[in-house]
Structures are given as C-alpha cells and as structure tokens.
Symmetry: C2
Amino acid sequence: MPIYNAPLKDMDFILNDVFKADEFWQANENLSHVDMATANAILEEMAKFSKNVILDLNRSADEAGGAEFNQGEVKTPAGFKEAFKQFAEGGWVGLGASEEFGGQGMPKMLTVLADEMIWSTNPSFMLYPLLTVGAGMAINDRASQEQKETYLPKFYTGEWSGTMCLTEPHSGTDLGLIKTKAEPNAEGSFNISGTKIFITSGEHDLSENIIHLVLAKTPNAPAGSRGISLFIVPKFNVNADGSIGERNAVAAGSIEHKMGIKGSATCVMNFDGAKGFIVGKENEGLAAMFVMMNYERLSMGIQGIGAAEFAYQNAAQYATDRLQGRSATGVQSPEKPADSILVHGDVRRMLLNIRANNEASRAFAVYVGQQLDITKFSTDEEAVRKANDRVALLTPIAKAYLTDKALDSALEAQMCFGGHGYIREWGMEQCIRDLRISQIYEGTNGVQAIDLIGRKTTKCSGAFIAEYIADIREFAASMADSKVKAAAVQVCSDVEDLTQFIVEQSKTAPDFSNAVAVDYLHAVGLLSFVYMFARISQAAAAKPEAFYQNKLVLADYYVAKVLPDLAARAQRIKAGSELIMQLPEEYFTAQS
Amino acid sequence: MPIYNAPLKDMDFILNDVFKADEFWQANENLSHVDMATANAILEEMAKFSKNVILDLNRSADEAGGAEFNQGEVKTPAGFKEAFKQFAEGGWVGLGASEEFGGQGMPKMLTVLADEMIWSTNPSFMLYPLLTVGAGMAINDRASQEQKETYLPKFYTGEWSGTMCLTEPHSGTDLGLIKTKAEPNAEGSFNISGTKIFITSGEHDLSENIIHLVLAKTPNAPAGSRGISLFIVPKFNVNADGSIGERNAVAAGSIEHKMGIKGSATCVMNFDGAKGFIVGKENEGLAAMFVMMNYERLSMGIQGIGAAEFAYQNAAQYATDRLQGRSATGVQSPEKPADSILVHGDVRRMLLNIRANNEASRAFAVYVGQQLDITKFSTDEEAVRKANDRVALLTPIAKAYLTDKALDSALEAQMCFGGHGYIREWGMEQCIRDLRISQIYEGTNGVQAIDLIGRKTTKCSGAFIAEYIADIREFAASMADSKVKAAAVQVCSDVEDLTQFIVEQSKTAPDFSNAVAVDYLHAVGLLSFVYMFARISQAAAAKPEAFYQNKLVLADYYVAKVLPDLAARAQRIKAGSELIMQLPEEYFTAQS
C-alpha cells in the first residue's frame, strides 16, 4: 500500500525560517490571533487526519469505481461520508473562512500547507470541501448580509455544501457563449433554466443541502461576458427560518466517467426553471467569480504539490528497497545480492528533480498565500496594491507551472518503480490519473499562460513582472555570493529581456503572445523557483545541520540541472510565431 | 467515438520518396520479391483491418475491464478472438517472418508501418501477435532445425503463440539475479521450476497452444548473467507428430491490474517442474534473447508513433470542430458564434509539436527498419558491419526517444480537448494510459539511455556515433542551403562535442555517464530527428504540391521550436554528475 507522511519539518522550515510567518502575523492586527504554535498544532492535526483517515480511502474509492450515480442521486465512495463528518467536525471546511460566519480565520499561507496534505492523500475527497470553500468565498465577497448569514455558517459546519456552475457543453473557456437563462419573478427571485457540465460535487450524499452558484443570462443582457449574472440556486429551497424546504428544480442528469479523481462526482446539472437568487449586481457575475478564482487556481497548484510529494515519498522508498545491479564505482552493499537502485545516477536524477520542484513549489505556494493574505488583511494601501498585482501575476504560475512540474514529477516517480509503477496496487498510476486534471480544469494551463502573457504582462507593458524582478534583485543583493544568487541575478535579466521582446512583438503581431505563452509561463516559473531557492538558501545557510545544508545542495542542483530549461524556452520565444500561424486550418486535418 | 485513418500518403512518401524503397529492394537479391506496389497493397489492407476491425474493440475492451482471469484461464476481451482469427488468416502474424516457415518475408522497413496502424488502433490486441513474432525470431535464430519446424509454422498460422519469460519478482533489469531452475532429465529435456512475472500473453484463449521461451539457470551454472540458458516450455507438450499432447506443468497464477493495455493479459507464470527444451547452447540464453531485442525495442518505439498518430488525428479534429473565443487578429468565422480553437497559437503549437515528432519518428522507424534489413538481407560484409553498429546505436533512441516524445504528444493532444480530454468516452485518456507502458517495458527508458551512453558510446569511445554523424554530414553536404541543413550541421558539432565530453569524463568518473544518460539520449534523439527532417526536406523540396511544401514548413518548425531542447540538454550534461551523486542514500527517505 502507498505510504505518506506529511513533510511537517519542511513546512515549519518554510513558514518559520523562510517566510518568518510569526513576525508577519504579529505585525498585522488582523492576523495577530495566529502564531507558529497554533500553526504547527493545526498542521500536526491534519497530518494525522490525512494519513490515518483518508489515505486508505483514496485507493479503495478508485478501485471500487468511484462515485456512483443512480436516478439523480450520487453515492460517494465507501468511507467518504464518515471521513467528511470527521473533517467537518474538526472545523476544517472553514479553516480559512471568516470567523464572523463560523470559520477559523486562518491565513492562506497556513491553509495551503494543510490543503497540501489532503491533496497528497485523497484528491477526490478534497474536491468536496474545496468547492464549498470557493462558493463561500464568492458569497462572502459579493452576496447580501442576509445571504451570507443564511449560507455561510451552514457551509462551515459541513451541513451544506457548495458548487460553482460555469461550464456548458458549448461554452468552457469562452464563458461569453453561455445559454443558461435567468427569468425574473415578481418577488425578486429568478427562474434558472439550462444545462451545466463538469460540475464538481454537483450532487452527492455528504451534506443535507447543496448550494449551487450559477452563471446565467438575464433577459436583454448584453451579449458575451458582460451580460453574465451570478445566482444562488439551492438544491432544496431554504425556508425563512433557515430550515430546509422543498426540492428545487435542479438535478444531476449523469456523472462523467473520467481518467481519475473517480471518487469525486463530476455532474451534468439540469436547471429546469429552478428558483435562484441573484448575487451582487446584474451582469457582474463574472467579476464575482473572479474574486475566488485566484484562490481556486492556487488550490490547483497545491493539488500538484500534494500529488508530487506523495509520488516522491513512495518512489524514494521503493528506490531504497529495490536491489538491482551494482554501483559503477564498486559494490556498495556486499552483504546483499545487489545494490539499491539509488546507486544509479539516473534514479537519483529523477528523485532530485521531483524533490527540487516540490520544495520550490511548496515555498512558492506559501509565498503566494502570503501575498493573498496581504490583500485580505493588510491595512497598508500600497502594500495591498502591490500584493494584488503580485497575485494577479503569479496566479497563472501557481496554477499552471506547479501542476506542469507536478505531472513531470509524478511520471518520473512512476518510472523509478519500473514495471511495478504501471501496476495499480502501487498507487503511482492512480496518482498520475488523479493529478492530470489539475492541468486541465479551472482554465487549462494553456489558458493560464495566455492570461499571464496577455492580461498580466503585455496589457500593463510588463509592469507587474518588472516589480517582481525588482523585488528578486533586491533580495539577491542581500545574499552572500553563491551559485543561486548568481543564477537569480542572471535569470532576472533573461526574463526581463524576454518580456521586453514579447511586449514589443505584440504591438505589431496580435497573435504573437498566444503562440509563445506557454514558453513564457515556464520562463517565469523558473524565475520564481530560483527566487524560492534563493530564499530557502538564505534561511538555511547559517544552520549546520544536514537538514539545512542539504537544502543548499538541492538549490545548487536546481540551478545546474533544472534551470537549463530556460535556455530552450528563450530560444523558442525568440523564434516567434510565424511558423505556428502560417499553415492553413485545413492542414491540420488533411489526410496524410 | 475516436477516429482513425491510416496515414497512407505519408507512409508512401517516406518509403518511396525519402528512402527510395523500390531501388533498395530491387538492388538486393534477397528482397527483390518486394516492390512498392506490393508494399502499398499490404499497407492498404492493414489500413482497413485496423480501422474496421480492431479500432472499436480497443475502447470496448478497456471499458469492460480488459482480460479476465479465472482459475488459471484467461478470457480475452469480447471480439478479440474473432479479430485475431481474421488477423492470422490474413497472414499478418508472419508478415516479416521467413518464408521457409510460412512467413511472408517482408522487410522491416515495411512491417514497421503496418505495425504502426495496429498500435494506433488497438495496442492491447497488438501485444498478442507481437510476443509470438519475438519468440519466433529467437527460435529462428538459435533453435535447432527440428525445433524451428515444430514451432514456427504453427506461430505464423496463428494456431500457436509465443511468450518471452524473463522477469522475476526480484529480478528485472538485472537478469543476473534470476532464480528459475532448469534440472536436466536423462532424455535431454529439462524440468523448469520458478516464477516469472509481467509475462505478456502468458495465458489467453486466442491460440491452441502457448510456447514459452524461458530464461533459467542449469545446475552449477556460473553466477550472474553468464549462467543463463534459454528454454522452450510449451503449455501443452507437443507429440512427435506435431499434435498437441498433455498439459505441461506451467500455469498462470494471476494477471496484473494495470494502468492501461488492459486487454492484454500480463501474467504471473508458475513453472512447477515443467518440461523444457534448451534453445542453443547452455549459458548462452541472454545472447539468444538479445537477437530479438533490437526488433522488440523498435516495436516499442512504433507503439509510441501509433499512439501519437491516433492522438494527433483526434485532437486535430476536435480543435477544428470546437468553437471558442475569437482570433486575436480579428474574427475568422463571422457566421459562427466563435472561431475554431485553431486560431489560437497555443493550440497550433501543441498540434505542430505532435505532428513534427510523429513525422520524424515515422521516418526514423523506417530508417532503423532499413538498417535491420541490411543486417539481415545484405551480402555486403562492410554494409552489414556498419548497419549492425548503426542498429546498436539507434535501438535505444528508437525505443526511448520515440516513446518519450509520444507521451509528450499524447498529453498535448489530450490538452487540446480541454475538460473533454479527461472524459473516457473521447478515448484520449485511454491512449495515454495504454501508451505509458511503452516507456517502461522492454527496459525502461532510463535503462535504454544507459545502454546508449555505455555499451554503445563510451565503450567504443564514440565510434558508432562518429560514423553516424559522418553520414549525416555527408547527407547535409548534398543539400541546398536551408535552415534544416544549417541546423543539421550545427547539431552534428554539438553532439560530437557532448560525446567527447562524456567519453573524457567517464574515464575518471565511472558513475558520470549514468547520471547524464537521459539527457544524452535526448540529444542524440534530436540529432536523429533533424537528420530525418533533412531527408524529408530533400525529398519534398522539388515538389510544388502543398502536401510536400508543408513538410518544409514543418521541418522549419521543428528546427525553430523543438530543437531548442538541445540547449537545455547540453547545459545539463556539462553540469556533470557531482550534485547528483553527493547526497547520502539516507537523504532520499529522511522525513522532511
């Protein structure tokens, strides 16, 4: 059976040594209720829950085929109900939610680490509370006080749950195409009609009620994305006293059969004149969705870290246990029939790639979490402005770069197992199947790259990235000389140069940026990870224990062995878009 | 449902225009029975069989859970039996086998193309005849005339089938560790006892008898890989008249539950004093296996091409049909609610990556097939020597580089589908699951890389690659100036330089080459694909039709957008092995 132990020491190192969380929390009156002792207690509790309660349910759910659908009802996999009850009773649903409505008010830089453990051990399970948290965030930000009071406390006890209903069969990335209609009723409510697909947790048996947040178009709404409104559509109508009333006209039509995350019910939802209540103002639905988008997209990145950490731990253990061949430098374990495969450089290369990306990813998630906390809790306007820009810039990296590297990592981990990696019982192939969705949903990684290069870069003529690079340079200047420092300085110049090139080219070639977007996203991802290793190195440098000194080796490994990808990315960007755009559309499907 | 149309025009172009197969066949008396008319007729027949017979069975087999195991018996998926009968009656099992024993005697440079179609449409199905072909090759090369006459004709009618039994639970890459015993009997046979795992087609219901080729150790055999012998162990003993006799003491203990290729039965085989017959000489079993290894490993590369071609066709069709967003250069399809996603450079980038790798891979498979044909059919000793060295050098590329690029391709194809790519009914996720094994079995791609950099490069001080580079330079010199020519010349120098560096470093650091092997394999893969595009370009340059001229654009795309990976590979190789090897083994599993 797969193993998992939460990387608590690493998490403490990142929070405490790298980002000095205690100082940060104490300096902010809205966060002064948090300290490292609380943080560590929370992480230790989640370490137990993830390992002891949901890890085994992950494989059993997949083996049993996942969530089951029958006549509009969804049965979650065996054990999920009890585990969710325990999860809800532990207050985990509202860990990062406002205390006013029953949440725990914990900062994002802490919750990302708790979330990572759930993503490591049971991604299908994670998706049930995740959507509730997202729906709660949108309601908290945009809904009326009455709506907040009606729904949020129920979310954070786990009694009710939430969904986000955006996608329709013909409308995914391009939400301007949605057809779901919202007809106003006399008393202020709306009748919602249409079909939504890919609705995570659209129907299930973990909660008494399911509150759908639905994008729809009111009569005479402007065409495209400016004419979209957001509605609350409960599965069961809610009575004036807050109790559950009649069934609303919304139902799951089927669930999808997927590559992975089979324990998570992905539903087709049919709205047949269902009663809905507008959230915020008419035609501002997309903006309301974007409020929680930065959080949700960071969550996908954490799904990546979680899976890659799980993959790493299992692959490292297998490599240690598996005896095959002998070291090229001479027999290492003469008492055994063969040496462990860790004597082979190629196996170490794979494990070090994974570990380097994992440690940088985890630091990066905490960094972005901290930026989100500044936007939410800081009272310093300029700090909030800067953090907002930083979050805007880095959200596509958090979502797409982290999940791209995570899939690479999970594939390399599987390869460490040889043929056994392909066999279900070892859990590696499920890890890959479950992880793969993180690159696809919440906007594909290609769409993230286009967001980064367009709205976040060319639109502001590179201002966001310039400010980021300035911060990295300032940090590097504070470091003693090292390979990581030198690399950070160099990568700042390289990415600056690429950004200028892109901004220039985009002025005359409107389709240029789309064609080089993924390469640019990876360039900024590499810059970000070198920055993280710079921060890790500075925090570790003065400490003599192997735990810290090995981090300096890993940082050097990153610079020597992972960072070279930047050379390829830069060459591709400089090669431009012409060869991509010049062939006619027919070329792609012509019989060859 | 997934679509597939065999790329017959491309196959004809590669055989006829690029490799001038007709001239090659006619110039060789052992191949003068083949011509392009025959070749095209064969490919057209296989195009029909693959599309009409086995394509639909691919998904139905996977959906139904694959091969079923019950009390030692394996039931293949619905439809496989009838399809295999049709396949065998068509003479496909022995397409490339010797006419003396009932084969069709077709050259490898042709059979790789027929094989590609089966890999595209039903990889699980392909594995049943594939192992028979492999076993037939080993018997043909090493067995006695009587053994050949007993088994080979039965293989090529499809009445009997074959397996290769190498791996044991504790012994995979390191076959020197095997424990299966062969005790001699008085009459010359042996009693074989032991357990073999991961035995493809070890048990099934497609043939009357199954002939296992088994590696085992005779009493007092030398330790390690020099003490391994090869045995024929039939499921049913064969009577003197060739008819089927009693059941032998070999049986499947279970089948594996895998990530993919579920229709293929992967068996645990228990040999309990089963009667076996030695093939060739005692202690030369591993050498006998290596006879067919080059063919088998090329087959895995073709599995890659097949999957990536299937993935490409489906993704290109989906991208053409899917309307979402508008072109950045202005609306392209005003009559539709949105433009096709082919207007987005990022989608084109993915499709062009796949297509470029597919076309180069296919040409490369034919090129390696031609080299194998020279080793088998040529009467020119120096040509055979040279082709043997070339095959030795390029087999790891054919196996590992082609399958690595194929997985990248299948993942990009899945991404073109957005969320739909994750849903089973579109077939993309199965394609990835089925393909993934090609990187793992027949020696993992890491093991291939170590074979390339060790036995094929440092061992001969780079002589094989030097001769390959000399040929590429000679070819480039025959070309008119172009970007591809310039790139080929440059890459020859780059790889020459890397090779020298590796040969030098390996003299003092015995574990150096293992640590940089995969990067070197990819460098030689890039060199090979640029060479293929040089040959493709020269064949296409003079022809004005779009089909040919678009190949020149694709070649330029390859140089501009794929080849830059070489810069990253070179940097990694130059960064050496020290950072990989220096951390202690405990580091990898220490709690973090």
